[in-house]
């Protein structure tokens, strides 16, 4: 590859198109300028490139550099204008919406879900022969939803053929049309039993745009998701993107294919986990959806909660969590009706931002529930394969541990990375730390971090062609370490000493039900000695002390002795008093009562 000096990357989100300019200074790559503009994939513009050009124009204004020539991005650089490489990711226009189908819901259909989610899709329905629905109900559902693409799986190689042909017959019956474009055949990927591929082709040939790939679950014990994911990505570029307004043009501007935003974020999360050899959990909370990514012992899982978000979907968080679960995180007295009306008004005017502190904390309360619910969804899919035969001992049988155990082990989690407007753009970084602590309730020793300005998608796509440049910018300009959280599992009597932490020669006792933040700056590392209460566990067993390595951050070292699960007083005034204490621990201001 020639010497690349300037890289432009954009992420076309559902609301905003974000552009970053990366330049080589000396031997290393640095983020130099960032710009953004409203996304223009919808009417009256109907052309995504207008928003891209507007975001790039902001970069030109700030940097004084010329990048656009005749209204398009100049690649490669010519006559002093343009950039060496231009890359883009996209989640605009509703992202990639898929229906998956499998024979057994908890096996092949679930593997198909993992394949599609890992490729950056939103699952709008999952059909299985054993899902309890009647054939005509499934047919009607497929018709109504109009997915961008369908992934069919099922049967181990050499296994059932009949059930797969039945799934094909359901598709034939529905005669589904894709969401975008009229007169276009729906892309269908077949990734099931290879012996059923030909009979399935005979049923669907000519009716849909069928692509046959290797079985994604060739045996009960093994998933083979890569071929299906590659096919999804290829069809996403060939079909869905070509039908979306302006993407045909944008694809002629880019130096590599457009990648779906979550796919790109997943790439960068996998890279961090591999480089550091750690277990990572990451969340990208947007206006419409929340994506969750995890890597535990090298196993990567990505899920998307399609209707949990901070603007378009904010009322869905309200509907799913309930007003009481949102209100429990609001640190001042607020009328329930007032909160509900505020959230509805955010839903209908999604681009507005909180001006008052009270309004900000109400949105942050919603974010805790959106993150928590999306994490529950993630844990339900991030698990070992179901249906795998295991040799068991008597002990295993007594412990009732079945197949399909969760891969997410909170005590083994090393880092949580938060991204998305509410976390990346929180006015005070401590607010992001507290939101993530409340939503995830991490256990043991966990580093909390945020994506500084919301640029993981652009770095994710960059990592596919220039991994070193992506890693340099990620570590220097993107990842903001907030600090390490120490949080034992279990509960203890309120107010009693929950643990003693020996930090820089001082022994500090922290009562149960409280949080203490100690000064430990970014880059500083210390070994601390933690002596938990006899009912609390730091990962070494109840009451057993632990000597742990901690790293600082912009917030500090957080000793969270609220117990796991976090207990919040039921009484309103006691709850507000307790929340005020927790906010105070982070030196966060508390506003007056609202809407009463």
């Amino acid at each position: 590859m020639p010497d690349i000096k300037t890289i432009l990357a954009t992420d076309c989100g559902s609301t905003t198109t974000k552009a970053i300019l990366i330049e080589k200074q000396g031997a290393e790559y640095h983020l130099t300028v960032r710009g953004e503009a409203p996304t223009t994939v919808e009417a009256p513009f109907d052309d995504v490139t207008i928003g891209v050009a507007n975001a790039v124009r902001e970069i030109e204004e700030i940097s004084g550099k010329k990048i656009l020539q005749n209204g398009r991005i100049q690649v490669p650089k010519k006559d002093g204008a343009g950039v060496d490489i231009y890359l883009s990711t996209s989640s605009a226009g509703g992202g990639l919406q898929m229906t998956v189908a499998g024979v057994v819901k908890s096996m092949s259909a679930e593997s198909a879900e993992r394949a599609a989610l890992g490729a950056g899709a939103i699952i709008i329905d999952s059909i299985a022969v054993d899902d309890g629905r009647k054939g005509h109900e499934e047919v009607t559902r497929i018709r109504e939803l109009r997915p961008d693409m369908i992934l069919v799986s099922g049967g181990t190689d050499g296994g059932t053929v009949k059930h797969l042909v039945e799934l094909a017959e359901i598709l034939l019956s529905a005669d589904p049309k894709p969401r975008l474009g009229t007169g276009v055949k729906l892309p269908v990927i077949y990734a099931g039993n290879h012996e059923a591929a030909e009979p399935v082709r005979q049923v669907l040939d000519g009716k849909v745009d069928l692509k046959i790939v290797e079985n994604l679950r060739p045996t009960m014990e093994r998933e083979n998701l890569h071929p299906a994911r590659e096919a999804i990505h290829e069809l996403f570029l060939q079909h869905v993107m070509q039908q979306a307004p302006g993407y045909g043009k944008l694809m002629t501007w880019t130096s590599a294919g457009i990648m779906s935003t979550p796919n790109a974020v997943g790439k960068i999360i996998e890279t961090i986990a591999a480089q550091e050899g750690i277990n990572v959990l990451a969340a990208d909370i947007g206006g419409a959806t929340t994506d969750v990514f995890s890597v535990f012992s090298g196993a990567y899982t990505r899920t998307v909660s399609a209707n949990l978000g901070m603007s378009y979907s904010i009322c869905n968080v309200l509907a799913e969590a309930g007003i009481e679960d949102i209100r429990r995180w609001v640190p001042f007295a607020a009328d329930e009706g007032y909160i509900r009306n505020q959230l509805r008004n955010k839903m209908i005017r999604p681009t507005t931002i909180p001006q008052t502190l009270g309004d900000l904390y109400i949105e942050q309360a919603v974010s805790r529930e959106a993150l928590r619910l999306a994490f529950l969804h993630h844990k339900s899919l991030a698990r070992e394969l179901k249906g795998v035969q295991q040799t068991r001992t008597i002990g295993d049988a007594l412990s009732q541990s079945g197949t399909g155990k969760s891969l997410v082990r909170m005590m083994d989690l090393n880092m949580i990375v938060g991204s998305g407007g509410v976390l990346s753009h929180a006015p005070r970084r401590a607010e992001s730390a507290l939101m993530m602590l409340d939503a995830y309730a991490p256990q043991g020793v966990t580093m909390l971090a945020v994506d500084s300005i919301f640029m993981m998608p652009q770095l994710g796509i960059l990592s596919t062609i220039m991994p070193e440049a992506a890693a340099q910018v990620f570590n220097r300009d993107c990842l903001i370490k907030l600090g390490t959280a120490i949080a034992p599992l279990g509960t203890a009597p309120e107010g009693q000493a929950a643990c003693a932490v020996t930090f820089r020669g001082s022994r500090i006792e922290v009562p149960f039900g409280s949080i203490k933040v100690l000064p430990l700056r970014a880059g500083e590392k210390e070994t601390v000695f933690v002596e938990p209460h006899r009912t609390l566990d730091m990962g070494e067993g109840r009451g057993r002390p632990a000597s742990v390595e901690v790293e600082g951050g912009v917030v500090g070292l957080i000793i969270d002795m609220r117990g796991r699960p976090i207990s919040i007083p039921a009484d309103d005034s006691a709850r507000i008093k307790k929340l005020a204490e927790w906010f105070e621990a982070f030196k966060l201001p508390i506003p007056q009562a609202q809407g009463l």
Partner: protein
Amino acid sequence: MATAYTPGLTVSSGTIIRKTRRLPLKGTVTVQPGDRVEPSTVVARTDLPGIMQTVRLCEQLGIDPSEINKHLMVSEGDFVERGTLLAEISSLFGLIKNRCASPVDGILEMISPITGNVGIRRRPIPVEVTAYINGTVSEIIPDEGVVIEAAGALVQGIFGVGGERLGAITVAVDSPDAVLDEDGIREDFAGKVVVAGANITGRALKKAASVGAAAVIAGGIIDHDLVDYLGHDIGVAITGQEEVPSVLIVTEGFGIMPMAARTFNLLKSLAGKQASVNGATQIRAGVIRPEIIVTTDAQVTGADGENGQSLNTGARIRIIREPYFGLLATVSGLPKETVMIESGAKVRILLAKLATGEEVTVPRANVEIIED
């Protein structure tokens, strides 16, 4: 963000209205360019392919799927009526007969020797698209639909529920800050588009529906009144498919919110006129706002109703978020630098002069430009 403000909703007494009327699938356009159309005029139609009914033929007859063709009495492509014998087998020297008949009318489209099923495609379902407004066909979208153009008044709301309706406008309150309660709903509101002020109460909304009002337009609605009216919560703002007796359109938001005087006065001036209304709202993936359209017979001239204004000093704005929600103001300053607001965030702001003369700081993202 240089352009981080919300364009205002259109409230215009005279504009060019263009409505695209499109089929869900390709079909036939039934009008010509220049044709005059009425709301009920069919402008395009198509046939939605019927659903294929699967018949588990071999399972019913107790035969192996590989034998299906041996017993079938009809062929692929045949039209079969409900009750038509599809296959028959006999056993015990013909004494016992097992039969399988078609459960529906349709065309035999699939015979599977693997599953032993046959598929009968039901008759197509006709779909028609009407003009929805009075106007002239200005453009044909081949095989898909038309664009109807008309001159008239257009009011966009911020949120609505329910689909397309027609009705004469009637104003039920004296002022834009009045709340329309149950006592204000009259029997003669049947078929009408009823204009309320700052709010319609939950009970009044139900009564309006029971007397058969076509639609209700109000400044605001209390959240739980909407949930109660619909019978379910709304998670994502994609509406229009609700089967509600009366369409509801709110022009300002949730709560008790005086209707903008300009909107109220325009609707008042249109009292008695026939309106086309649609509560459909889609805020995610393509912005669709609810609308009230009253067309006139005037010639189609002038510019359309799109927003073209930019945020300049002197521009008239409405603030759309607390703590100044709903207040009208004039932009008195547009500082370039970001400014820290009460929440602690540093954002692009503007200075707004309120009607009281007070000058306040507002994030640029929290204002709408008011069209002149």
